[in-house]
Symmetry: C2
Subunit: 461 residues, 2 copies
C-alpha cells in the first residue's frame, strides 16, 4: 500500500472557498431560459419572487457573474462540517487489485447525512435575510428535508416539509430527525392544500409522489404570508451552492499533485454531480486538459440515457415554470426504486445543456442490484455505509477501476460520495435477503411519460 | 465569535498515536485482581485463554507496561476514520452565552457510529493474528455489535452477535447494518446455547438482557472450535485501546494552547471516559496540574453514585470472572432507559478504583428528560445529532458552562461525544411527543440488586 499520500486529504478551514462558482458564466451555450407556464415567456426575477426568495431568484437567473460571494454567516455554518475530506480509497483499490487511484469526496459526514446541507443553509440564510417567517419544500427520500430542517433550525425559521406519504410511512426516523430540528412534516398528499385535497378526493388511497409534494409545497408557499418555496436540486442556484464540493475537491487533490482523469457522480436532479464537476468543467470550457465526466443514473429512471431534451414541467401538477431539460415526462412514474433521491423525471437544465453539448461526456444507467453489490463491497472494505444514491457512483468508479486493472492504466478516479446509508437500511436488508429486484422501464412505459411533455406552439411540437 | 481558533482541530494522520497508554502502570493503587469464579484465585493468562484471545488476555493482566505499541495494521485501519476531530462548540457557547470554552472530541464520525470501533478493530486484529475462525459477543444498544461486525468484516473473521431480543426487535436497522458487514445476529435468549434454552424454558416470553446475552456469547465461544469471546467495555484492554481518544484530544488541544479545566464523559461500562481521561489522569497521578474529572451516568442505573464497591460477576448468568467494581448487583434490572449503552450494573475496575481513590473526582447521575433537552439543544445549534449515551456528557457540559456564566469564569471544558443518534430516533420521537419518562430506582430496588452481590468467604462478607 502506497504511503506517499494520506488516506484523507483535508483542507484547513481558511481554505473553505469564499465564492460559489457559476459555471453558466463559462458555458459556450447557456441553457434555454425557464418559461412562465402561463405566458411561455422567459421568467424574470419579478415572475419568480412570489415563489422564491428574491436573492435566490436573482441567482437563478444570473448567467454572467462567474463568482458569487458566500455570505459570512453561511461560511461560518460551513465550518461546522467543512471542509469535507477527499479520501483516497486505498482499501478499495487493494480489494480490486487495480492500479487506478480512487478518490472520493465525502459529503455525508454532517448530521443531515448528505451534501444537501450545502444549499439548504444558503437558501435558509437568504430567506432569513429577507425577513421571511419560513419556507416550504418537499422531500422524497428525506435527505433534502433533513438538511433544510437543520438549516432552518439554525436560523430560527419555520420549515414545512411535504414528505411523500409512502416515504413518511417507510422512514419514520427521517420524520423524527426533521421534527427534532423543529420542522413540521406533512405527509403528502395532504388535506392542507387545494392540490392535495383534489388528489385525495380522486384517489383516497394515494401514497403520494415527489411531483405532487412539489405542487403542494409551492401552493402552501404562495398562499401563506411570509413564506417562500425552496428546492434542493435541479435549479441553477442549487448547482451554484454545490460547487463548494468541486472546489474543495480540486484544491485538496492539488495538494497531492493529482488531477483526476475521470470524475463520476450520481445524477437525480443533478446537484451533486453539477457541484462536483463544475470547477473541472471550467478547465474543459477554457480548452484545457479536463477529466472524462460520467453521470450515473438508475436504469429505472433514465432521464439522460433514454429521456428527451425538451421543455417540461418540473412537477406533476404542472404549476411550476417550464425548463428545457432531459426529461422522461412529468407524468413518468418511476418504479419504487430504493434510491429515492434519484427518482426524478427531469434533470438540471445546466447539466442537460452540458450533456447535450458533449461537455458532460457520458451518462450511464445502472441497475439497483449491481449498485448494492458495489455498496456492500465498499462498506466492508472502506468502512463507510453509503447511501443508495451515492452507490450509483461507486458502482461506476469500481467498473472504471476494473477496466484499469485490465489495461494496466494508473488513472485517477474521483467520485462524489454524497451521503450515508443510515436511513436506507430497509434497502440493504432487501439486498441481503435477496428480495431486491431490478426494473427497467419498457419503451411503452417511456412513451406514456413522453406523452405528458407539453406541446408549445412555436417552441416545441 | 472568536476567530483565533478553528472550529475543528485536526491532527494529521502521522500524529495518530503509535502506542496505547496503560494508565494502570501509573496508578498509585492497582485495581484488585479479577478472581476465578471457581477457585476465587486471581485470574491468570492461562485461566483466560479459553475465553479470550491470548494477546488480549495478556493486555488484560498487564499492569506494568506504560505503553503498548499499536500494531501497524490497526493503525492503518485507524487512518480510515482517525484522527477524529476536537471541535470547539462555538455555536453552543453562543447559545448559552457562556464565557466557557467548550470542546468535544467527536467519535461518531465512522460508519459504526461510535467510539467502540477503536477497540473492536484491535480485538479483531488479535483474533486474526491468533488464527481464530471467529469471535462471539453480545450487544445491547447495538453500537458495540456494529463496530465489531465492521472490524470482523475487514479481517474476514466470522462474527456472532447475541443481541438483546427487545433491542433486536426495536432496532431492526442495527441488525441490518451488522448483517451488511457479514455478521450473524442472534436475538438473545436463543435456543443456540444451554443458557438460552434454560431461560426460554423458564421464561418463554423473555425479551432478554445484556447479562443473559453475555452468558450466551461466552458459552458459544468456549464451546466452538476456533472462537473466542470479545467484549466492548468494562475490561482493562478496552480502556487501553480507547486511550487513543484522550491522547488525540490532548495533542489537538495543545495545538491551540488549551489544557482543559474539566473533562466530562458518560460512563456505562467506562470505556469512553476511561479512554478520554487517561492521558490527563497521567498528569494527575504524576502530581501535576490536572482537570476536574466528571463521570456522568443515568439516574436509572447509578452504579458509581449509588452502587457498592465490591467483587461481583460481570454477567447475570454468573459464568464470568469476578471483578472488584462499583456495582448495583448482577441481578439489578435497569429500567428500559433509552440510553441502552449505559444500562450496565457494573463499572470498569480501573474507573472504579480511580473513583474510590478520589482521582476520578466526581460522578453525577442525570435524568433522561434532562439529557434529551440538552441533546436537542446541541443538535440544533451544533448541527450534530448525538447518541443518548453521549448526551449525558453534553448535559453536564452545559450545566458546567452555565455555572461559568454565573461566575464569569472562562473555563475550558472537554467532553467526549461518543456517537451519533441516528439509531436512536425512537427515543427522540418519544422526547418530542412528551411520552418520555424518568425513572429513579428506589432504595428497595437497589437493595434487591445488592442482594445478588456474592459473599466470598475471607474476601467480602
Amino acid at each position: 500500500m502506497s504511503k506517499e499520500m494520506p488516506y484523507k486529504i483535508y483542507l484547513s478551514e481558511d481554505e473553505i472557498p469564499k465564492y460559489w462558482y457559476n459555471v453558466r458564466a463559462d458555458m459556450k451555450t447557456d441553457h434555454s431560459p425557464m418559461l412562465h407556464p402561463g405566458t411561455l415567456k422567459p421568467m424574470t426575477v419579478d415572475d419568480m419572487t412570489p415563489i422564491f426568495c428574491t436573492e435566490l431568484a436573482r441567482q437563478e437567473l444570473n448567467a454572467t457573474d462567474r463568482f458569487i460571494p458566500i455570505p459570512e454567516e453561511v461560511r461560518n455554518f460551513y465550518k461546522m462540517y467543512r471542509p469535507s475530506p477527499v479520501v483516497r480509497a486505498y482499501f478499495l483499490e487493494k480489494a480490486l487489485g487495480t492500479p487506478a487511484k480512487i478518490f472520493y469526496k465525502y459529503e455525508g459526514g454532517n448530521t443531515s447525512g448528505s451534501h444537501k446541507l450545502n444549499s439548504a443553509i444558503a437558501q435558509a440564510y437568504y430567506a432569513k435575510e429577507q425577513g421571511l417567517k419560513g419556507v416550504t419544500t418537499e422531500t422524497g427520500a428525506g435527505q433534502w428535508g433533513t438538511a433544510l430542517s437543520m438549516a432552518c433550525g439554525y436560523f430560527g425559521l419555520d420549515c414545512k416539509v411535504f414528505m411523500v406519504k409512502c416515504s413518511a410511512e417507510q422512514k419514520p426516523y427521517r420524520k423524527a430527525v426533521m421534527e427534532t430540528y423543529g420542522a413540521t412534516v406533512v405527509p403528502s398528499p395532504s388535506d392542507t392544500t387545494e392540490v392535495g385535497r383534489k388528489i385525495l378526493a380522486e384517489f383516497p388511497g394515494s401514497t403520494g409522489s415527489l411531483g405532487t409534494a412539489i405542487s403542494e409545497a409551492v401552493e402552501k408557499a404562495v398562499s401563506s404570508d411570509g413564506y417562500r418555496y425552496v428546492l434542493g436540486s435541479v435549479l441553477n442556484q442549487v448547482i451554484l451552492h454545490q460547487t463548494i464540493i468541486g472546489q474543495e475537491a480540486k484544491a485538496a487533490l492539488e495538494k497531492v499533485d493529482i488531477y483526476p482523469d475521470i470524475v463520476i457522480g450520481c445524477a437525480g436532479g443533478g446537484s451533486n454531480l453539477g457541484g462536483l464537476m463544475a470547477p473541472f468543467m471550467a478547465d474543459k470550457l477554457a480548452g484545457k486538459k479536463a477529466p472524462h465526466f460520467i453521470a450515473v443514473e438508475p436504469a429505472s429512471c433514465p432521464s439522460l440515457t433514454r429521456g428527451r431534451f425538451a421543455y417540461d414541467f418540473c412537477d406533476t401538477g404542472k404549476v411550476t415554470p417550464l425548463a428545457k431539460m432531459y426529461t422522461l415526462g412529468s407524468g413518468f412514474i418511476p418504479s419504487p426504486s430504493h434510491a429515492g433521491g434519484l427518482r426524478y423525471h427531469g434533470m438540471s437544465p445546466i447539466l442537460s445543456e452540458l450533456y447535450h453539448d458533449g461537455c458532460l461526456d457520458e451518462a450511464r444507467a445502472v441497475e439497483q442490484t449491481q449498485v448494492f453489490e458495489a455498496a456492500e463491497l465498499f462498506a466492508r472494505v472502506e468502512g463507510l455505509l453509503p447511501a443508495p444514491e451515492s452507490s450509483h457512483a461507486i458502482r461506476v468508479a469500481i467498473d472504471e477501476a476494473l477496466k484499469c486493472k485490465e489495461t494496466g492504466e494508473e488513472k485517477s478516479i474521483l467520485f462524489g460520495l454524497t451521503g450515508t446509508g443510515y436511513f436506507d437500511l430497509a434497502a440493504y436488508t432487501a439486498y441481503n435477503n435477496g428480495t431486491m429486484t431490478d426494473y427497467i422501464p419498457s419503451d411503452e412505459d417511456l412513451e406514456r411519460g413522453f406523452a405528458c411533455i407539453p406541446k408549445l406552439p412555436g417552441i416545441q411540437d
